[in-house]
């Protein structure tokens, strides 16, 4: 939450005092409401723990996710079992690599894809919507018509073609997945902008001759923040799910990198062969992350969304 406070602080330094007080009490209010919600708080803690796991989990055992021990012969079903003694806490994967390290790595990539994908969607969507809403008139109607047209394009399909054709890279994944979902955000942002636009502090800024782009970035966008955070939190699980679907298609991240989606896919393929740990360890993390994000998102929405108050 620090980054929200920082933005609010910046806003306080530069602009109208009236807004400053309203802003502060709004955030304090929201924080209070959020911490009343037990499910959301627990989920927040779970997410933090998973984040720690993703960042530092690799230090907890001596194996690395790339190393294959060729001396291990025999059937994976027997030799690959999870065990505390040999340090393979989650067992071995289909290539006899340490699944624990792979899971740490996969969690990191999945979180990265989810968060960055949501960030791309939110940044593009908010700016687009704010500009359309603020400028208004012909520009607005052209920009929103364009959104209508883009909404009719099956983006998942276009993304598949893109990934097939231009090769797979994590960058392409972020951008591609993010670009699929900025359209909804732009509509919401525009709606909010329309109502903020006529507030006194905006009119004051216009009167003192501040450039339109500066107004959008300095005055409109900070006031959309609550909405943006809620939407972003709710987007992350969708992004992670989308990444897992892409991994299923074989278009996900490249070896030796991996993601939870890719690990789950391997586990699911080998489900019938008595190596279930390959499925349930990564799946458990996947489910935990998604569920926690849902609850946190719901909690934030209840806390921040003015409509529900």
């Amino acid at each position: 939450m620090t980054f929200v406070d920082k933005d609010a602080a910046e806003e306080r330094q530069g602009h109208a005092g009236h807004d400053q007080i309203a802003g502060r009490s709004l955030w304090a209010d929201a924080r209070h409401r959020f911490f009343q919600n037990k499910a959301a708080v627990v989920s927040m803690v779970v997410l933090l723990l998973i984040l720690l796991f993703a960042l530092f989990g690799g230090y907890l055992n001596e194996h690395n996710g790339q190393f294959i021990d060729f001396t291990i012969g025999g059937n994976l079903r027997e030799v690959g079992k999870p065990s505390i003694e040999n340090g393979h806490y989650f067992g071995l994967d289909q290539d006899k690599r340490d699944l624990y390290s792979r899971t740490v790595q996969g969690t990191r990539i999945s979180l990265l894809v989810g968060v960055l994908g949501a960030l791309v969607a939110v940044v593009v969507g908010t700016l687009y919507g704010a500009i359309a809403g603020y400028v208004g008139g012909k520009t607005d109607s052209i920009m929103m018509r364009a959104v209508d047209i883009l909404m009719s394009i099956p983006f998942m399909f276009v993304l598949i073609i893109l990934l097939v054709i231009f090769g797979r890279s994590i960058g392409m994944l972020f951008v591609g997945i993010g670009l699929i979902s900025w359209l909804d955000m732009s509509r919401i942002a525009r709606g909010q902008t329309l109502s903020i636009k006529n507030k006194e502090f905006v009119e004051a800024a216009i009167a003192t001759g501040v450039a339109p782009m500066t107004i959008i970035l300095r005055h409109i966008v900070p006031n959309l923040l609550g909405l943006v955070i809620v939407y972003a939190t709710l987007l992350v699980p969708g992004m992670i799910l989308a990444e897992s679907f892409i991994s299923f298609l074989g278009l996900g991240v490249q070896e030796p990198n991996t993601s939870l989606g890719a690990l789950i896919n391997f586990g699911a393929q080998n489900m019938a062969y008595g190596t279930l740990w390959m499925l349930y360890f990564p799946l458990a993390f996947f489910v935990l992350i998604l569920t926690a994000f849902y609850f946190v998102g719901d909690g934030l929405r209840d806390a921040l969304d003015p409509k529900d108050r």
Binding site: R145, I149, S152, V158, V164, I165, F166, M271
Partner: protein
């Protein structure tokens, strides 16, 4: 209203055109071509094949011919990969299959999702509610490529109740597993949406008034609360149906149903240019159509909305 529909349909034309052009550009920018294989063809053989499929023409001529053939003859050309079939054959065979299991999945997801959501909302904060929320979240985070093999193991291998795949002209026992696998995550989303929507509606003034007047709960739900509850769910259905069609690739891979889904990916892998185009146009049209249908339904349910 009619005016509005017409306008939306008119927008569809440039949308599809943009889509066609994007796909064409992507296709030709792609490395490889439909006739490459592990052992490269001798140049002469390759030249003969390319001439037969018109790939020796300049790009602009190819695009022009492609659009011309569709507009004049409704001809989408032959598949470059599956040489015995035309794009029309492929769509005519695969699309009804996808639409059949897609439709049943849709029905199952909507009926069970809405019911569960309503029940959970009525019994807010009871055990039933918690169970419903648990089921819904569990179902929404389980990817269907995990669910599908689980279903196969249980119902085909262990219990032996249902065939493990195929379509066989759409007999009921071949449809059940695809429908379960496809509908689960949508069922979950619909249940969650319905629940929160219903909770909101139950808290509004007019419902409270109705309850205060002592009207029976059943009547309140059906007569008054249902309509406003369904509105946000409705707007989810358009994208949901399109998502089901796109998501059908998982179903086709796991249940070998022979639907259109597998071509979403395969045609791009195979550089089967004509099939990529045909499918792009099909999915584009469907997306536009379902968004439109949802908007019309919206207006029909809520007469306050005018276009």
């Amino acid at each position: 209203m009619l005016n509005y529909i017409l306008r939306r349909l008119l927008i569809a034309i440039p949308t599809i055109l943009i889509l066609v052009i994007i796909s064409f550009v992507l296709m030709f920018a792609a490395p490889g071509g439909p006739f490459n294989s592990e052992r490269p063809l001798p140049p002469q053989t390759l030249a003969n094949i390319e001439a037969r499929y018109g790939l020796d023409q300049p790009y602009v001529v190819q695009i022009f011919n492609y659009i011309k053939n569709i507009v004049l003859h409704f001809d989408f050309g032959p598949s470059f990969k599956y040489k015995d079939l035309s794009v029309t054959d492929i769509i005519a065979q695969g699309f009804p299959v996808t639409l059949t299991y897609g439709f049943w999945s849709f029905v199952v997801a909507v009926v069970s999702g809405v019911s569960l959501g309503v029940v959970a909302a009525i019994r807010h904060n009871s055990k039933v509610d918690y169970a419903a929320v648990g089921v819904a979240i569990g179902a929404s985070v389980l990817p269907n490529f995990v669910l599908a093999p689980i279903l196969l193991l249980i119902f085909t291998l262990w219990l032996g109740w249902l065939p493990g795949g195929g379509w066989n002209g759409g007999q009921i026992e071949y449809i059940i597993l695809p429908v379960i696998a496809l509908s689960t995550s949508y069922f979950a989303s619909i249940a969650r949406l319905t629940r929160s929507s219903m909770l909101e509606v139950l808290n509004t003034g007019f419902i409270r008034t109705a309850r205060a007047k002592g009207l029976p709960m059943r009547r309140i739900i059906w007569k008054h609360a249902m309509k406003p509850t369904i509105m946000p769910v409705l707007s989810y259905l358009g994208p949901a149906f399109v998502g089901m069609i796109t998501g059908s690739v998982v179903i086709d891979v796991y249940f070998s149903t022979g639907g259109i889904g597998q071509y979403f990916v395969n045609s791009a892998f195979n550089r089967d240019y004509s099939v990529i185009m045909g499918i792009t146009i099909l999915v584009g049209c469907l997306t536009i159509l379902f968004n439109l249908v949802v908007d019309i339904l919206y207006a029909w349910i809520d007469p306050k909305i005018r276009y």
